[in-house]
């Protein structure tokens, strides 16, 4: 039977989704958790299907970037030879996967939305309009980066054997040092859990106009504010708010896209919403082709009225 491994970032629920999928592919499922908090994570990882969890609490994984993790993962993989390694797409995991692929000469699929077999991965291209099944060949392990929210996490009720990883991270892999951390806190419900997501793009013209979206989210209640990649990259709002291929996937009851043209990068992250409302100046914006209600107009004129209108109806 094919052995399936999951790379688990500490405190990341996405690993539990991957373990749920891994269980459907194999009885031989293990996870690797590295860095402070890894030992504590081993419990849930076992409950969701890992038979074994390879653990290291060493601070080297937090103080440096992907090189120590890629190195230790490579040693473990070369020793135990799993057939498939699943990682959840994140900044860190993607870097680990890229390093590991080169070190092992293994094949890799990025942005997968399903893993139907240990040697098959499914991705969506062209903004989710085409579904591609890829056959994975070459030396094991095959590496698949899976988009978060592709699977629903379900506990198996198991417990994992915890195996401490003996550490051997050479000095030359500790050159990129994390010297400061800055966290930008968001308020309100999480993007993935909110019933309504109100997202903004370039059409909002400047960063401060995101306040209007925040007001709208507050007026609606149980709503979260998201953003397109363009405005995250431009530094208007933190990455945590990004919806799309390289950000979060959301499936709210209603998704309101404000000043977002609907690039394929973005559509992948929100196309499974139950209903979509779009506001855009450009009548030809691709977002209108997928919207249940599209309004061609100036978002900055419409938003203040919408906030008022929603508040009025909710208090009526």
């Amino acid at each position: 039977m094919a052995a399936v491994w999951v790379y688990a970032e500490a405190g990341d629920g996405a690993a539990l989704e991957l373990l749920t999928k891994a269980r459907s592919l194999s009885d031989d499922v293990a996870a690797v958790a590295l860095g402070p908090g890894a030992a504590e994570a081993a419990g849930p990882l076992g409950e969701f299907g890992a038979k074994k969890v390879y653990v290291s609490e060493d601070a080297v994984f937090a103080d440096h970037l992907e090189q120590p993790a890629a190195h230790v993962l490579r040693m473990l993989v070369e020793e135990h030879r799993p057939d498939l390694l699943l990682l959840s797409t994140s900044y860190h995991a993607r870097d680990v996967a890229g390093r590991l692929q080169a070190a092992l000469g293994a094949t890799l699929v990025s942005n997968a939305s399903d893993v139907p077999a240990p040697d098959r991965a499914v991705t969506q291209i062209f903004g989710g309009t085409r579904v591609v099944t890829v056959a994975l060949e070459g030396p094991a392990p095959r590496i698949v980066l899976v988009r978060p929210k592709s699977f629903e996490a379900q506990p198996s009720g198991g417990t994992a054997e915890v195996v401490d990883v003996p550490l051997d991270v050479p000095t030359q892999l500790r050159k990129a040092r994390r010297v400061e951390r800055h966290e930008e806190q968001a308020s309100g419900p999480k993007l993935e859990e909110a019933r309504v997501v109100v997202s903004g793009g370039r059409g909002l013209q400047e960063a401060k106009n995101f306040d209007l979206l925040q007001q709208l989210a507050e007026a609606i209640g149980n709503a979260a504010v998201g953003a397109s990649r363009a405005v995250v990259d431009a530094g208007w709002v933190p990455y945590a708010m990004q919806v799309g291929q390289t950000g979060k996937s959301v499936r709210p009851d209603v998704y309101v896209a404000v000043g977002i043209s609907g690039a394929s990068q973005h559509r992948v992250g929100m196309k499974d919403s139950k209903a979509i409302v779009a506001i855009n100046k450009d009548a030809d914006a691709p977002i209108f082709a997928m919207a249940d209600l599209g309004v061609v107009g100036d978002a900055l004129a419409i938003l203040p009225k919408l906030v008022e209108e929603v508040a009025r109806r909710r208090s009526a």
Partner: protein, 254 residues
């Protein structure tokens, strides 16, 4: 300081993306420098301006990829390397990284700069694979890049905000579109670009055999995803807000 910027030629966003019969991305329309790579070019030029040094662009792709190098050279920089070989048609991410790192490794370098991911494939792993082959540290998702006395200092985007990373050179860095505002090529720049060195290399020049870049995966099947039907589109006549509020009410979210 020797700065290498990785660039990719991709189909223009004006083209409707399509696949060939053997499941490859069609590249017979307009080909441009990947918009994400313009930021890598700009960061490379700024680092060179600030601390002195040369900027060389490296790409892999068919002859048409030349357009990407010309655009980059028109923005600035000193020269370019284009790896082009019939055996590289359909090369996957691993093969691409192997070839790019060989092309970079045969010349000296202090800093390699790339975009975080390509606009057409979005795989996002090639730069880290290149760093692994070159045996240098790397910092991804930079929103600010500074080089002082051989030390790279980067503000790196994270899920919750940003980290500050310090790293000695040589190193590789990938940049987001927050890292710089790409300059427009001037007419003078476009004219000068035509005089700048453009080295074309084959796999044999890099000492790589065709078998070393064989694909490790193939496309089994391509199917159309279920389409979302478009709904009603109205032009705001002052009633846009009311219509949206009614919609939210009917969806029972307010």
């Amino acid at each position: 300081m020797e700065i290498v910027v990785l660039v990719k030629a991709v189909p223009s966003a004006n083209e409707t993306p399509a696949l060939t019969d053997d499941h490859r991305l069609r590249r017979d329309g307009e080909i441009v420098l990947d918009p994400g790579d313009e930021y890598g070019v700009e960061v490379g030029l700024q680092v060179a301006d600030a601390g002195g040094g040369t900027v060389t662009y490296v790409t892999m792709g068919p002859d048409s990829a030349n357009a990407a190098l010309r655009k980059a050279l028109a923005m600035g920089g000193d020269g370019s390397v284009h790896v082009s070989d019939p055996s590289l048609a359909g090369a996957d991410a691993l093969a691409t990284a192997r070839v790019l790192s060989a092309a970079i490794g045969r010349r000296g370098f202090d800093l390699v700069i790339a975009g975080v991911e390509s606009t057409d494939g979005s795989t996002g792993t090639v730069p880290m694979s290149v760093a692994e082959f070159l045996e240098v540290p790397s910092v991804s998702f930079a929103r600010k890049v500074e080089v002082t006395d051989g030390l790279l200092r980067v503000e790196r985007q994270t899920a919750a905000g940003y980290d500050v990373i310090e790293c000695e050179l040589p190193a590789l860095v990938t940049v987001t579109t927050a890292a710089a505002e790409p300059r427009y090529p001037t007419l003078k720049g476009i004219m000068q670009a035509k005089q700048k060195p453009l080295e074309v290399l084959s796999l044999a020049d890099l000492g790589i055999a065709a078998g070393d870049v064989a694909a490790t995966q193939h496309v089994d099947a391509v199917a159309a995803a279920p389409e979302r039907a478009a709904g009603e589109v109205i032009v705001d006549q002052g009633d846009g807000a009311t219509r949206i509020a009614e919609f939210l009410e009917q969806a029972k979210v307010i």
